[in-house]
Amino acid sequence: MPGLEDLYREIILDHYRSPRNRGELPTPPAHAETGFNPLCGDEITLYVQVDDGRLADVKLTGQGCSISQSSASMMSTAVKGLSVDEARAVIRRFKSMMSIHESRLDGGGEGDGGDEDAEAANVKLGDLEALQGVVKFPVRIKCATLAWNTLTQALDAVGASSQQPPG
């Protein structure tokens, strides 16, 4: 029987109480992306500024539960300064940590938990490992992944616009 201490690890509560990288960035040059958790109304707006293929700055606003907000805060510190490819690897690594359980629950799911690529497998999640306990509380997985899905959307949008022919 998982207990609350599996879910609410001290580092999670710390990020919840003192969220990092809170705020907005001017758009443009930054890109803003808003994600919703339709189940519970949690909402997050992510600002990413990509310069020369790097996440030069990341900020976020929004409201939600301790899991969604701390996950967002921890994500922002983890990906800030990384290249877009590195950030995507962290996203894949984090999502696979969350989806092992998710895909089992969904009776198969997308199956992207198993064939995790080598690059993502080498990523060290550090503090983010604290969120591992969330998989024991399946309804909360969507809270933990909200910011990460939003970041994927933001990076996709930035990638699409940077592929436009110049001028």
Partner: protein
């Protein structure tokens, strides 16, 4: 006579189980109620002894099944105070009941620019079908605002209703608990030449219902919130309206004759019941309304009112900084208490309460516009039914302190 809750609890087998080694304290009946043994037994007995399709076979058990299904309609009509069972249409739930009105009556009677009046406290079930008509046809939707205490602001009611074709309103708010003055709203709607549709999802399970006294034109309810099974709801509508409305879903059951070039429809209410209906569920709903009638709906209301009053006092006494949305007095509200506890997010709150065996709902309760009006993204909601007592409330109150310990800043 006051309800004997200790005895009632024994009728609900699920209340004997534990979660996380704690007694199950079920405070989420506004989302879906638990079911008494009599409902479970009636459904089992139907499958064990009677199961057959309805309105078809001439053999004995088919006839019995048809009789049970139609008895359910008569039981529900009596429970609602409806003049005739022919005004009772079985649907899947109240959402389908409202969609039936929006598709059948709405698409016959509403054109671009026509006005439907709703309220800011509606459940998505009574918002989205009309928003879809707005997107499809360009109808206009006006909203009766909710005031600071969670009541409908009636001051500009006549203005809102001016020229309207329909007023759609919930009888009891699933978030605020507010009991809306349906007879007065019906009178105002009719004076303006509009019909009134009442979402009765949170009314039917908790207080006396007398359709004729309410003065409404359409009334929807949903079985699983009133001690009945999932998969069955009711649309009640005035007979003349049902007669004039075209069918919603089409197929078997709802026809009188079918030729290769067309069809004619069955009589009401069967005109609106396409396909094999939820027969066992109707039998279960029948047992549920009999259970409620045996308790007495006046007694049910008084029990939930006094339990709500007890809960409001206990919560405010133990946790002075707790915010309860909606009308301050239990007299003005159903057994629904939406809470904001300091900065603790409702999700986290309900997770902590779950560890104490307490089931409350956290989220937007399918009322996102109301959440925006309240300036919150979610609330934690405790809601009561006939099987809850003061001991259940006490567990809630003391479990809130655990949340405080974990999340205090």
């Amino acid at each position: 006579m006051a309800l004997d809750v200790a005895t009632i609890k024994k009728d609900f087998p699920i209340l004997e189980r534990t979660v996380h080694d704690k007694r199950l304290v079920y405070l989420d009946s506004a989302a879906s109620s638990q079911k008494p043994l009599s409902v479970l037994r009636a459904m089992d007995a139907y499958y064990e002894t009677t199961n057959a399709n309805v309105h078809r076979g001439v053999y004995a058990i088919a006839e019995e099944a048809t009789r049970l299904y139609e008895k359910a309609r008569t039981d529900v009509a009596r429970f609602m105070g409806a003049g005739s069972a022919a005004e009772v249409v079985f649907t899947k739930n109240v959402t389908e009941a409202i969609n039936l009105v929006a598709y059948s009556w709405g698409r016959t009677n509403l054109a671009a620019g026509d006005v439907v009046v709703l309220t800011e406290m509606e459940h998505h079930a009574n918002l989205v079908p009309w928003l879809a008509l707005k997107a499809e046809r360009g109808i206009e939707i006006r909203y009766i605002p909710v005031d600071g205490q969670g009541f409908l602001d009636m001051t500009r009611l006549d203005e809102a209703l001016d020229g309207a074709k329909l007023l759609g309103v919930t009888s009891v708010s699933n978030v605020l608990g507010t009991m809306n003055p349906i007879p007065r709203l019906a009178e105002a709607a009719h004076a303006a030449g509009a019909l009134i549709l009442v979402d009765g999802a949170q009314h039917a399970p908790h207080m006396p219902l007398d359709i004729s006294a309410l003065g409404c034109d359409f009334f929807g309810l949903t079985g699983h919130k009133m001690l009945g099974p999932t998969g069955i709801g009711v649309l009640w509508a005035r007979a003349d309206l049902l007669e004039a409305m075209p069918p919603f879903l089409c197929g078997g059951e709802m026809i009188r004759d079918v030729r290769l070039d067309g069809f004619s429809t069955n009589d009401v209410p069967w005109k609106f019941e396409a396909g094999t209906p939820p027969i066992a569920e109707a039998v279960g709903l029948s047992a549920a309304v009999e259970y409620l009638e045996a308790l007495g709906m006046d007694e049910v209301r008084e029990h939930e009112r006094s339990l709500t009053a007890y809960a409001l006092d206990a919560l405010r006494g133990a946790h002075p900084d707790l915010v309860v949305h909606g009308p301050p007095a239990a007299d003005d509200r159903g057994g629904v208490i939406s809470l904001q506890y300091r900065d603790v997010h409702p999700h986290d709150l309900s997770q902590v309460l779950d560890q104490a065996g307490v089931c409350v709902r956290a989220g937007h309760h399918c009322a996102k516009p109301l959440m925006r009006r309240l300036g919150v993204s979610a609330t934690a909601r405790a809601s009561f039914s006939v099987y809850n007592d003061e001991a259940d409330v006490d567990v809630l109150v003391s479990a809130l302190a655990d949340a405080d310990a974990l999340f205090s800043l």
